[in-house]
Symmetry: C2
Subunit: 316 residues, 2 copies
């Protein structure tokens, strides 16, 4: 992989006209509760409501003209799907989106709203990949994988560039890990811009393939996953794992209960809407899984797309 | 009443160390949906989660030292109670808070968290006032009325000062009205800073005493009110009504359905948590109650304190 800070900075220039530079928020109350200085990078305020806008836009605008005209395709749990649909529309090309049949309604509506063509499939990773291969064979579209794609990772890494431009003296960055896209981008950017920084990946205990892979030193595939953090139901990608071994300091897991508490606490205290996946780093603080006390901690709030009819604390 | 822009600017100087200058947010999506340019003044991000921090802080820090030492008291539906408790704590004095027994749990917890002493009473305005008189007789505390108080109104008016400093060329400001505190402060500030501006009050149809008072030209008291906008269940104050007649252009009412839709739309689109009362101005846009098209519209999002176990769209 040639993913480096230069690629991430090029991505930033390429996507700047199409994305928000999102704010970094702080909370006196959460600082007091944790004993740390927490800096929340609010990708819930990003276009399409998630950091995924960055990677998808970078990938679509990196294609040469002839390739772009044949369209793009992907399989995604939702935010990447919306992001790719939007990026394709901005470039004036087609987006074919394979989505699991149990995707949250709000994410399905988002893809439709951006003009993506949806192909539903069974809710498992193999069915999704198979359906995607079919669609590509039929259309000639280019696969834009949600995380095993260097341009997607480079785009996602711009989150960390902005965070460190605004708060240069962070001790630690906490980032969720699903497939590993934003984690790899973040780790490469953060470790290059500030070599002494720690980058810790945070993962639901019910979807712990990244933690297991990291501990065992080999890529572990997990068939069954169960977590309300629906953005983190994917298995780690192979290229992502290689980068994680090189750039990430640790991978820690958190309970479902902590994710719900973290999500609810951030809603109630900061008055912002974040999705369960985005709450996983703060859950790691609540469960004391990282050495954060008296430290300056960057937290990637990855997105804010939530089905308001199915909030986790409603499920009694 | 001597409420004028000078009093509001003095309040701003007095409270500046204790409050947030809240951001003004925009949404490309809501602008496209409405055909207007909407500027949301985010008092949901204010200390204690509502604009009430401004008025209560101004009132408490305006007291002379001897008076302050006897403490302060109020009856409130919640946000003013939390705000007064916090302001009293900042000044190191006692706050006695009369609250209706059906107050949202999140608001009760907030008052307790800021060290206020709560006295519960029956959930109607007369019981609240009677309990407050009792508490004052027992303690010698000064009543800080939630809206019939010039210092409270002056503090609340600093919302509009900040909004117009940031977006000077507004055509229109939409503001919720309950007792009339933030409306009066907003109207006086906005009309003085920008004489051509329109100030429109927005009110739930189920708590329409301000609209009726405005239309009839005399203060109308409404015994029964029913709305999910729990911050707007109070009747208009007499001093507030006098200012409204002089400074406010119109009072419009909106349905409960529109309030819920407005609240949910703002959560889903802007990824911010606002309480039902804060959604009332945008509900007026949804129901086409004001002349907003192609205009630059300031919207006061008054607060973000919501009981996440009892969201309005859960109540089927």
């Amino acid at each position: 992989m040639a993913l480096d800070l230069a690629a991430i900075r090029s991505a930033h220039e390429r996507i700047r006209p199409y994305i928000h530079r999102t704010p970094v928020l702080t909370s006196a109350r959460l600082d007091a509760a944790s004993g740390a200085s927490l800096f929340f990078k609010c990708e819930n305020f990003q276009k399409v409501g998630a950091f995924k806008a960055r990677g998808a836009t970078n990938a679509v605008f990196s294609l040469d003209e002839a390739t772009a005209q044949r369209g793009v395709a992907t399989h995604s749990s939702g935010n990447h799907a919306a992001a790719l649909s939007r990026a394709a529309k901005l470039r004036g090309i087609a987006a074919h989106i394979v989505m699991p049949s149990n995707s949250p309604k709000v994410k399905v509506r988002a893809v439709e709203g951006y003009g993506g063509r949806i192909v539903f499939c069974e809710p498992n990773q193999r069915a999704r990949e198979a359906a995607c291969v079919r669609v590509i064979a039929e259309t000639g579209a280019t696969l834009i994988h949600p995380f095993e794609n260097e341009q997607v990772m480079a785009g996602a890494g711009t989150v960390a560039v902005e965070l460190l431009e605004e708060i240069p003296d962070l001790d630690l960055v906490l980032c969720p890990v699903g497939g590993g896209g934003v984690l790899c981008g973040t780790a490469v950017a953060a470790k290059t811009m500030r070599p002494g920084i720690k980058v810790i990946a945070t993962e639901p205990a019910g979807a712990s393939d990244a933690a297991e892979s990291f501990q065992q030193g080999k890529l572990v595939y997990q068939e069954k996953k169960e977590t309300i953090a629906d953005g983190l139901l994917t298995n780690l990608g192979a290229p992502n794992f290689a980068l994680i071994q090189r750039y990430v300091d640790d991978v820690v897991t958190v309970s479902e209960e902590a994710i719900v508490t973290a999500m609810r606490t951030i809603w109630e205290t900061m008055k912002i809407v974040i999705e369960p996946s985005g709450a996983v780093p703060y859950a790691a603080i609540l469960e004391d899984k990282v050495d954060f006390r008296s430290k300056r901690v960057g937290i990637i709030l990855t997105g804010g797309n939530v089905d308001l009819d199915a909030l986790p604390w409603m499920k009694i």
